[in-house]
């Protein structure tokens, strides 16, 4: 809901997350996704081949993005809808606010949309006096808490069910105090009851889109709760907000992508709903909105085309990279400080808000490679994080101690004879100091290590020094 990034304070955020016992307890749930994904992939012999074909579909689309966007726009217009292009977040907000105002909208229901988060839509709607209600259960919960999503598909994964009960009792004034909300099902039906009235009262429904189909002008949303259907069918107008790389050539292509999307995301063979909408209500339709608008957001993405970050535009927002990321697992999504967390966020955030602001994220990775291993469209996430580090290094944005430290080390490492001599002397000296215990509990310039872990002491002379001794003696 907020656009203020705290990404630059990543280390402080990490500290806060690691010392928050409640959050640490809640984070355990995200790990279930990894098991379910592995099971779902295992059930489908062609899963790996499907990933290749998903990647090929996205690469092809990105190579012809202009053509497919134009084709999509034509089809939307043919079906009675309208397409608006927004260069940045502000333009997107203005377009949506103007549309809402022109329809005299007082209340808006929203399906889950990360792009809406990216442009800070709820805040803008509220500021314009329009009541915006999130209808995805997770989004609804965090809206009550005044938070942003901590996961791109499970926005309230950091919240426990006890906390949800507390929020509901605070916000739902008609809720009898003796009604039990101990079980997730009870929480769900309570939310459903409250949201039902909101659905019926809404003037405009705003959803995101998983796919925009160029062949037909259709937008597709993937949900498990059905809230998206009510959001887009009941109000007078349906506004779709999506970023430009969501365009997909054909329905057949989308069907292929859907097969890897839900398996990678939640481990479901298919999501409960995949809802297609094409234009406003036609004369013989039983229901549907009378106006249909699509806002296509760029916000820096077109500048990624043709460059070293283009592969990132393949992302279909499944969340598998964060589910499998040791860093995300340790601290959750809010620590990343902006809209997109985890490895995909670590690559995307500097692209969208600048490397000076978002540069911490691509640095905070062990390069373990598990994100790339599970990415349904095989985005080389570690490689792109390294590209960001290169950009930072070139622009001298990396921290000075790191740059000078590297320079000092590189001086020795590129002079083998000097290196062998100096490492041998240091290893012998450190051995003499540390051999008793075998390790150090403190060492100069290594506080980041020794504050938490012991540091093994060298065994004595270096290998190269010993080897030379041996070769000399033997040969």
């Amino acid at each position: 809901m907020t656009l203020i990034a705290t990404t630059a304070k990543f280390k402080d955020n990490v500290h806060a997350a690691l010392t928050d016992a409640r959050l640490q307890g809640a984070l355990g749930h995200a790990r279930n996704f990894t098991v379910r994904r592995a099971e779902a992939a295992g059930r489908l012999p062609e899963f790996e081949a499907l990933r290749d074909s998903a990647r090929a579909i996205k690469d092809h689309t990105l190579a012809h993005l202009d053509l497919y966007l134009e084709a999509y726009e034509r089809k939307v217009r043919d079906s009675g809808g309208e397409v608006h292009y927004a260069q940045d977040a502000e333009e997107a907000r203005t377009i949506i606010l103007d549309l809402c105002k022109s329809m005299g909208a007082k209340s808006v229901t929203k399906g889950k949309s990360m792009v809406a988060e990216e442009i800070g839509l709820n805040h803008a709607l509220e500021a314009a006096g329009i009541d915006a209600v999130e209808t995805d259960l997770g989004e609804y919960i965090i809206q009550l808490r005044g938070e942003t999503p901590s996961h791109i598909i499970a926005p309230a994964i950091h919240v426990t069910k006890e906390e949800v009960e507390r929020e509901f009792r605070k916000a739902h004034r008609d809720l009898p105090p003796d009604r039990s909300l101990a079980e997730p099902e009870q929480l769900l039906s309570e939310a459903r009851e409250v949201l039902r009235a909101k659905f019926l009262a809404a003037d405009v429904g705003i959803t995101g889109a998983n796919f925009l189909i160029a062949e037909t002008g259709t937008s597709i949303i993937v949900t498990n709760e059905g809230n998206g259907d009510l959001t887009q069918i009941l109000p007078r107008a349906h506004i779709v907000i999506a970023s430009l790389e969501k365009v997909t050539p054909t329905l057949e292509d989308a069907a292929q992508l859907l097969r890897v999307l839900s398996r990678s995301a939640t481990g479901q063979d298919a999501s409960v709903y995949a809802t297609l909408s094409t234009g406003p209500r036609r004369p013989d339709d039983p229901d549907g909105p009378s106006a249909y608008h699509v806002v296509i957001l760029d916000n820096g993405r077109s500048s990624m085309l043709g460059g070293e970050f283009e592969d990132m535009l393949r992302c279909i927002r499944c969340g598998a990279c964060m589910n499998h990321c040791p860093v995300y697992q340790a601290v959750g999504g809010h620590a990343y400080g902006w809209v997109y967390p985890g490895p995909m966020g670590a690559v995307l955030t500097p692209s969208l808000i600048g490397v000076a602001e978002g540069g911490q994220l691509p640095n905070a990775s062990t390069f373990c490679g598990r994100c790339e291993e599970v990415c349904p469209v095989r985005i080389p996430l570690p490689k792109m994080m390294r590209h960001w580090r290169e950009r930072e290094f070139e622009r001298r944005l990396s921290p000075a101690p790191l740059r000078y430290g590297l320079g000092f080390w590189a001086f020795f490492a590129s002079r083998p004879a000097l290196y062998r001599l100096s490492t041998d002397l240091s290893a012998r000296a450190m051995h003499l100091i540390g051999r008793g215990k075998g390790r150090f509990s403190w060492a100069p310039f290594a506080g980041g290590w020794t504050r938490y872990r012991d540091l093994a002491a060298p065994q004595g002379a270096t290998f190269q020094s010993q080897w030379r001794g041996r070769s000399g003696a033997v040969r």
């Binding site: 280390k11 990490v14 601290v331 373990c368 290094f393 990396s398 490492t423 290590w449 540091l455 065994q459």
Partner: protein, 268 residues
């Protein structure tokens, strides 16, 4: 541990000339891993040489300092020019040599070709023994319950997974147990461990829990960086679990102090 191990394996008709890329951590912190690697390679019939070397350049590469990474890559490519193979007792450094060097020279065809040739002859130690040399069993004994941690780069860049387990299965006295999350990163990540110490510690603490949960008395891996991280955390927690490089156990050279253990006493 000693420095007199002589070639003892069957000498092949054409004895492969293997350049040991010892890695800077092994070179400086734990030379015994280098001697274990030499023994394993010589037992398998290789002629081992150790060209003058420093570092593969990965710290610079991962810190975004491409120029230094390239300079160190060229240095290594030159130094190992006359080797049939380049073998490192590390999946991380091995991955750097075998998977990342060629990309450093994009746009410089001559160097790119040399880097590609170098990459194609570069291997991680245990996978080289099994996949290239066809080693099926080693003559070694280790009395202990051992958990093997799959270091990330070895696992995901080089496919090192079955090979160490296969050879460990043949070590007398050794019981191999699996960690619940053997494929989850230990949180080392090179400079990451120091730059993001608190975060790194959170990740390795979870790894330490997993190791203790597996009731192992020894944790093995193919990368000294990961091992120092796990050993350092276990020791800080007062755990009795010891950490060793897999090569030490496979070479039957695991009788000295484990990583970070006291080196006083009747060692040599």
């Amino acid at each position: 541990m000693n420095a007199t191990a002589a070639p003892s394996g069957p000498i092949r008709k054409s004895q492969p000339r293997v350049g040991l890329f010892v890695t800077c951590l092994v070179d400086i912190i734990r030379p015994s891993v280098g001697f274990a690697a030499v023994k394993l390679l010589e037992d398998a019939g290789c002629k081992v040489i150790v060209p003058s070397q420093t570092c593969c350049g990965q710290p610079a590469y991962n810190a975004g300092d491409r120029a230094t990474a390239k300079a160190l890559a060229r240095q290594a490519i030159d130094a190992f020019e006359d080797c049939d193979y380049v073998v490192a007792p590390s999946g991380s450094c091995g991955g750097m040599l075998a998977k990342h060097y060629p990309g450093l020279f994009a746009g410089e065809p001559e160097l790119a070709i040399r880097a590609q040739r170098f990459a194609e002859k570069s291997y991680e130690l245990v996978s080289f023994l099994v996949d290239v040399l066809g080693v099926e069993k080693v003559a070694a004994r280790y009395d202990g319950v051992v958990a093997y941690h799959d270091s990330c780069a070895g696992l995901r860049e080089l496919g090192v997974k079955a090979q160490p387990r296969r050879l460990l299965a043949g070590v007398e006295g050794l019981t191999l147990v699996e960690l619940n999350e053997a494929e989850t990163c230990c949180g080392f990540g090179g400079l990451f461990a120091a730059k993001y110490g608190e975060l790194s510690n959170a990740i390795v603490s979870r790894k330490a829990d997993d190791i203790r949960g597996a009731k192992a008395d020894t944790v093995l891996a193919g990368d000294l960086g990961c091992l120092m991280n796990m050993a350092g955390r276990l020791q800080r927690e007062g755990s009795a679990v010891v950490a060793r490089h897999v090569a030490e156990v496979l070479a039957g050279m695991a009788d000295g102090p484990a990583i970070g253990e006291s080196q006083k006493g009747p060692r040599q």
